[in-house]
């Protein structure tokens, strides 16, 4: 049809891969484009599979079991502006005494690339030293930097003289 056809193409019953010259010059550009299109379509399929994987996780992941109640400190144990690190639910957390009677606790893992955040007392915020992500001490929200999600907040209760962690909210992936 287009000239420079394979001489045996119409008569041969051999499969294409058996032919000595399976692709002739005139066909080359077609083959290149066809293979490129196939590759792009398979890439699209893999991204669709990614979306389906997320859908499956969202549909079949179990609701998280209740958090345990864990004593993290006693009232007055740390000075105002002081911090205490503790483990809660397999997560490294930071407790900050923000006032005489107020405390705040967050996961210490930055929501950007999981570096450990620290409390910058003079600026009253949590800072990630890796990429200068800053978080509010009030609610863990992002003040500046590359993180897009707030720090997971540890819910605290005062039971007598004890400060008890009773749960975590926000930031973390649900169902993990």
């Amino acid at each position: 049809m287009f000239g420079l056809r394979r001489p045996s193409a119409s008569s041969s019953k051999e499969p294409l891969w058996r032919e000595e010259f399976s692709i002739f010059t005139a066909d080359e550009r077609y083959v290149g484009r066809r293979q490129m299109t196939k590759f792009l379509t398979l890439t699209s399929l893999s991204m669709f599979a990614g979306n389906l994987w997320l859908l499956g996780r969202a549909a079949f992941s179990k609701d998280r079991p209740a958090y345990p109640a864990v004593k993290v400190a006693t009232a007055g144990e740390i000075p105002v502006g002081g911090v205490k690190l503790f483990q809660y639910d397999n997560d490294q957390c930071i407790l900050v005494r923000t006032g005489e009677t107020s405390y705040a606790a967050y996961s210490q893992k930055c929501t950007h690339l999981s570096c450990a955040v620290y409390y910058a007392k003079e600026k009253n915020r949590l800072e990630c030293p890796c990429h200068e992500g800053y978080f509010s001490i009030l609610d863990g929200s992002v003040l500046q930097g590359p993180p897009t999600r707030p720090l997971p907040k540890v819910t605290l209760e005062q039971r007598g003289s004890d400060l008890v962690a009773v749960g975590m909210t926000g930031g973390a992936e649900p169902g993990t």
Binding site: M1, F2, G3, L4, A9, T25, A26, D27, R29, Y30, V31, R33, R34, M36, T37, K38, L40, T41, T43, S44, L45, M47, F48, G50, N51, L52, L54, L55, R57, A58, T148, R149, G170, G171, A172, E173, P174
Partner: protein, 79 residues
């Protein structure tokens, strides 16, 4: 030296180039959709995953249809 393209060959190649361009645009949208859905899911917004999967499926069907079109052009050209 290569033989010059016939008008039909030229049209076929142009159509293929157009299809590849379209697929690339669709892929960029699909890539953005996947990353945005992942970010939303990790932030705890599960409701985003269902429409995102549906739209991603539509985009894949579109790409597959365009690939079918390219195959048809290719088959005609090689007949």
């Amino acid at each position: 030296m290569k033989a010059p393209d016939t008008p039909l060959q030229g049209r076929g190649l142009t159509a293929m180039d157009g299809v590849i361009t379209l697929i690339i645009i669709l892929l960029i949208v699909q890539m953005w959709l996947l990353s945005a859905t992942l970010a939303a899911y990790l932030a705890g917004h599960r409701s985003a995953v269902v429409p995102a999967a549906f739209v991603s499926g539509l985009i894949f069907v579109g790409c597959a249809a365009l690939y079918g079109f390219v195959e048809r052009i290719d088959r005609n050209a090689r007949r």
